[in-house]
Symmetry: D2
Subunit: 475 residues, 4 copies
């Protein structure tokens, strides 16, 4: 029988959990600008969207389930128009269920007034912190880390908010790029490893903070710099004020942002994403020279690195797989007897281009392997003689605990099977993963600055396994 | 220009704020039964509806904006099926804005597990309690009294839940009929004056608690008794356990439940609502004998007392105004030049019945007087010779602070104008209000047991005026 | 398993198929007035609603599935604002399926311009007419009679529209109250037996035509007269012009309009509906005097005749069954093991009133008997000693072919079982139907003017059985 | 103030009007296969979608406004499951308004049974045909050409359906790729010039017909051939039967399908679309050699020809503009003071790639020029030194009357201004259009086979200007 599937079930990729956007800009329409900023960050989360604004006196909130343009109509945006500060959030739930109660920003009243939060990342000691808070009388309505953070801040609420944030930063461990809104302030915090991205720019006399620089571009803001690991930035009528709340620890920027997650036009912690991907293709060609007729990408994730491979190898680049641009989040799943239509609906091989050729097919990564196997067999049906599958990242063999939705290790094909078995499962003539050294080499002198836990198992912040995520759900 | 109006704007009546329903019945489909129970209580709140269920291990919640059948589909109900305990809530917001965040039940995690609340009534010291909680680190996401109550209970959370509820009862003042659900318990609490109704019944070996007995009837439960003022009832695997948490103070049951709010088939604190209304009609005929040709009700609110008036006076009863049974919550408001159509859409006078007659028109109460004036002029257009308007309640001259949506005193026509001026405003030939003594006389020996604050200004629980309601709104 | 039911499945009544409303009133907001007129006729059809307007140059249409306020928002109404003529339609589908394609008005382009139709009634020779049209090249998109009528008119389109309508009237047989809109005219036609109601009134210098006079009242129009059987009325810039298109045949007004279908405040073909119902109660008491303690109605359909019974018999009238005013069109059907909750959700017996009493329960009619049986058993559970069920109409034993949704004869309990068996099926102590003579006696000298086919089997217009309805469905 | 815009207003492109898909395949789930086929053709129409199925006895229809996955849920598809024949349609309305009544397929009852139509193209003599039909008694409910066609067929209905289709083909002029479904047949017709594409393939023992071959691939069908101009193909239990209804006239396939409209993986009338676009890039580089640092495409429409340009010129290809993959059909339009955000939301320039460079920017065509101007200024803000805009098609200077939504000639910038003025309007340093000869040269020996009316003004089928489209609207 036919049924619905969400994109989540359908695609075979790692997923970003969230994107955040904040703006302090008196005399600008901050609600609309945040809307456009979230639109630019839509790839970081498609399950819910929300905006909170402040006008010096009060904090207003509008949020809902769905894509940014589904949640916000002109009317809903007008209802929160008029402020000078705003924060926004898009969310991709990593827990199985997606509840409205988990949509962000969260807005609370605490002893100092109102407090809104938008959070990207995962705390690693949230269970412990929540227990302490519960035992001393706190209550929780959601299972989000953010509700723990706001309760911590409220407990330190007799201090100034800046001091409360600093104390909170001492308590919380793990990954966070955090935006806080009050009636008259915007505060940005980034964890001391810089695990999740966060950058700041200027817009006339105001400021914009966002997960990725593409959101700054979209609203016409000028990129200033990345928020430093461990830094707290306060934006208010006195301008920008920065505190180094925690000493910078060894940097551990998420390397997967460059491989797949971030938008190619973003610059993250000094590196342009598009350029990195191109170089990954060059490196791939160097590590894995093949005698082939064509290089084709799996669009869109493999396109840039495929082009890099073609450049470095001299093998012609062709668009051998055409993507249906209208594939949305839901469609009626093919019934059992037309199962392979699922992939065909999304990607169609071009026989004229492919027939009789030996093909290097480039993708960014391989998670569960289900899609790749179908692609290989589609290519063979078109008369492709050889399929050399290659990936611009090492095998993903460990779960992420810092805010990326890797599947369980049991579902990670590379964690479960030796290379040769993976290759035979997907049916390619050969299969090659970029080496971890090759991946890091692209970053030149900054190779030490990245978290590679999903490849290497080396976790920069201690985690309690298995699976601290979704350990209990409130509802 | 045409626009939408909610029923709230349209009708000229006092409004109940909420209705609650709870069930402890292992082996029953408690979610469905709660759905039917809320359907029976729909007249007590039409803005939001919600159900929380528990199955011994966890608490599940489903709620939304709208009528019970709009919020719950078979699917949403199935998603919370399977428990043995449930509470439900329908809400009619008294604050200007109606936010999803205020929909009930509220479900929280506290140190003892999960806690869900459904509350009918208004606390009078909520501002004070909230301040205390805020200053010691609590945060609030809504402006509901219920969130204050759950935080109080959580602060006492090291005690058993029963003890925590007892301590909470000592703190909170005002009106409350409160249902609490945990993983394995249903708790019912009623304020020590019994301001808002709450009764309990049995369903096979289980129990049902509800704002009105009509909800017990609807699910096939057998009425047992009213919950006593100041009583806490615990329902769990050990059966029913009752605590008299607070000494019963002078009883002060809301008298307006009998006049207008409750369903006629309910029995509240010993009195059948339909029977009370009939007697109010008798008393009205006794106090105000008129020489007239017909008694007609303003349907449906005046129907029963009009019949009582007719019985006692011997004047024939006629349905001189026909109600459109399809008037729903929203319709397009007539433009300025067809303003009077608004009432005509709802009530149509029957010329054949009315022409040339002297008419006693009976309604339950008169709040702002806008509708009554239009009715009188419609009757005159039909050739009615005399219109004697009479009301089965005294003038409403004071605001309620215990959970009824009276308008501000400035909007209460009887509080603003002397009787003769009210009469001339609505254009009746005469206007008569039932006396307070007459109203109370209907209750025989129990006249002392009622709150008559909206008529008399005698508030059984101290209130801080003006308007503790809506004093701040979180969002 | 729980599922949705429409009201149609749930109630145990005959149903009106449609209501029509038309207005010719330059300088009035005809779209809004039609909206209010349809609101007043909502009881005649709840499945779809539509309005077509004309402004001298073009015809605009807006229609949809659902209740009038669901179909029309301020925005949709504004989109067709500005004309001087409008027709509207509410529909209750009699075929099993309810398709948008059948919603009315239908608007077509024909050789003379645009033509919109709103139709109440059923043609009896539609199959034959459709065949003739098909064989000469017509095509049909719906299964409505109206599409046949418009094709007929188009075939006569070389004549003036008035002449085309007259020719069409010669062709069509059966029941119709028909409104036609063109760019600059409103035409009303009623079948030569006057089977379905249609009346006309004035609104300042304009005219209003409607199925029932209550719709005239609602928009502030003044009742003029009923449209005559066989009459065609043309309303345009030259005022009102009437043609007696066909000689009046023996009148045959639908008697069920008075028994149940019409609103009590309407006057139809000279008789006030409320007054007729009261007299039916008197007649019932005369034919069937019982020794009982109480008369109770099944609300709302039995209320007026129950009151008539009480008046004539002297037995006290009580509201022994309380109706839930919020019962809407859909709710989740009780599962098998709580089946009887279905009726209880709608009607709740008041034990205080009923216990120990011998009760006359009055309803207007009994179709399938399912609800009545449940009511009787609910009364018995409340301790009622005797239940004398009586009905203000004779047994419904024949199907209607003129626009009323009687069930198939196989489903009509009175057509399938002898009286005693019906009584024992519903479990009453006695069961009494009003006699046909008694029913007709209420109309005094006009007894010959009614169609009583559903009781008597005497069809004023020849019909082809079985079941010309739903014989084929287009989709 | 903020408002909504449809994609139609937003993009600056020509638009395909419709896509059609048909299947004759006993023992297959034809409804689901048609759903996937329409999904593959979604780029040809996003305003409405519909499917009609037949099972030998009856024709069922489901259609609605919106994208394919919005119109069809599992449930709606299941409701028409079970047949062996299906046709589907996606529509992009070319008239200003988009009415549900115009959604296709249309299904009618005619003298021979049921007839469903799905049509891509525009008839040029529809006004004349409609007049003839009206004057002899036909009525029309929509303004679609399809309703005219079905009436014509019905008039010839005494013949066999094949004969009726042949007679109809003699009457109708202009562009059509037409699918007809009856209870037991699927018929495909293509106009004698072959203006709009239509091809046929096999699926096991069944057949699939579609606007583009990519839809055949998607459902796993095997491409057989294009339907011949003037050919009628009948598919039924007797297999495939072909009639050359009209002599093939000079072929005139729409050349814009190759330039922009069709999906790159389709093969249309012998040419692979992707390959054609690549060659257009080669030709462009030959005609217009520039001294530049980079070639960048306007994604996605210019990507393939940009790559062709880079290949032929040797200038490096870069993705200098990054497209937001989540841009949907609606979003809140930027207010006046942030107007330029509209394009930035969709396309973001990558400064790292572009700064200081002389850039060849390649797009497929330029219609109104509004987007191009904003892109050029965005590039300049990124420090681009020279922008050489070049287009892989000649200037669009004439309207299409065969089913493509060109704007009015007044809106076509190239029809209104000389080249130099266009260049200065968009602000490029140079502007180059591919020559018509260059465009045609790509097709080798088949240069005579194409319609180039929008460039050359040479219309293969006579048209009546101005604007036969939208001449009257029914509603």
């Amino acid at each position: 029988m036919a049924g619905y599937v969400s994109k989540k079930d359908y695609t075979d990729k790692l997923h970003e959990e969230c994107g955040v956007f904040g703006i302090y800009a008196p005399n600008k329409d901050v609600a609309h600008l945040t809307y456009y900023g979230l639109y630019a960050l839509q790839h970081r989360g498609q399950e819910s969207a929300g905006i909170a604004t402040a006008d010096g006196k009060r904090v207003q909130l509008y949020k809902g389930m769905g894509l940014v343009p589904e949640v916000f109509s002109g009317e809903s945006l007008d209802s929160i128009t008029g402020g000078e500060i705003a924060i926004g959030h898009v969310r991709y739930s990593t827990t199985g269920s997606s509840h409205p109660v988990n949509a962000q920003p969260l807005v609370f009243r605490y002893t100092g007034g109102h407090l809104g939060l938008a959070h990207n990342g995962n705390l690693t000691n949230v269970t412990e912190l929540r227990s302490q808070l519960l035992s001393t009388g706190s209550v929780f309505q959601s299972s989000t880390d953010s509700e723990v953070i706001v309760n911590l801040i409220a407990r330190y609420g007799q201090s100034s908010l800046e001091q409360a944030c600093m104390k909170c930063a001492i308590d919380i461990k793990g990954a966070y790029s955090l935006l806080i809104i009050t009636e008259d302030k915007l505060i940005a915090m980034r964890d001391p490893h810089g695990l999740r991205p966060l950058c700041i720019g200027t817009l006339d006399k105001g400021y914009v903070v966002a997960s990725e620089s593409c959101a700054l571009d979209t609203v016409g803001a000028k990129f200033m710099r990345d928020v430093n690991p461990g830094e707290i930035i306060i934006l208010d009528r006195n301008g920008l004020h920065s505190l180094q709340a925690l000493p910078v620890q060894n940097k551990a920027h998420c390397i997967f942002e460059y491989i797949y997650l971030a938008r190619p036009d973003s610059i993250i912690d000094g590196f342009n994403v598009n350029r990195v991907r191109r170089k990954l293709g060059h490196q791939l060609a160097k590590e894995y020279p093949v005698d082939a007729d064509l290089v084709i990408p799996v669009p869109d994730s493999g396109t840039t690195s495929a082009r890099g491979y073609a450049e470095a190898s001299g093998i012609p680049f062709e668009e051998g797989l055409v993507k249906n641009r209208y594939i949305g989040r839901t469609f009626i799943q093919p019934t059992q007897d037309m199962r392979e239509l699922g992939v065909r609906l999304k990607l169609n091989p071009v026989r004229e281009v492919l027939e009789g050729k030996r093909v290097v097919m480039v993708d960014d990564s391989l998670v569960r392997g289900t899609t790749s196997g179908k692609l290989v067999s589609m290519l063979r049906e078109c008369g492709v003689k050889k399929v050399y599958m290659c990936l611009s990242s090492p095998p993903v063999v460990h779960s992420c605990y810092y805010g990326i939705d890797t599947s369980d290790e049991q579902e990670l094909i590379a964690a479960q099977k030796p290379l040769e078995e993976v290759r035979s499962t997907i049916g390619a003539d050969d299969l090659y993963y970029l080496s971890l050294e090759g991946l890091l080499s692209v970053f030149g002198d900054y190779q030490e600055n990245f978290c590679t836990a999903c490849f290497s198992g080396i976790y920069p912040v201690e985690v309690v396994k298995p699976n601290i995520k979704g350990k209990y759900s409130l509802e």
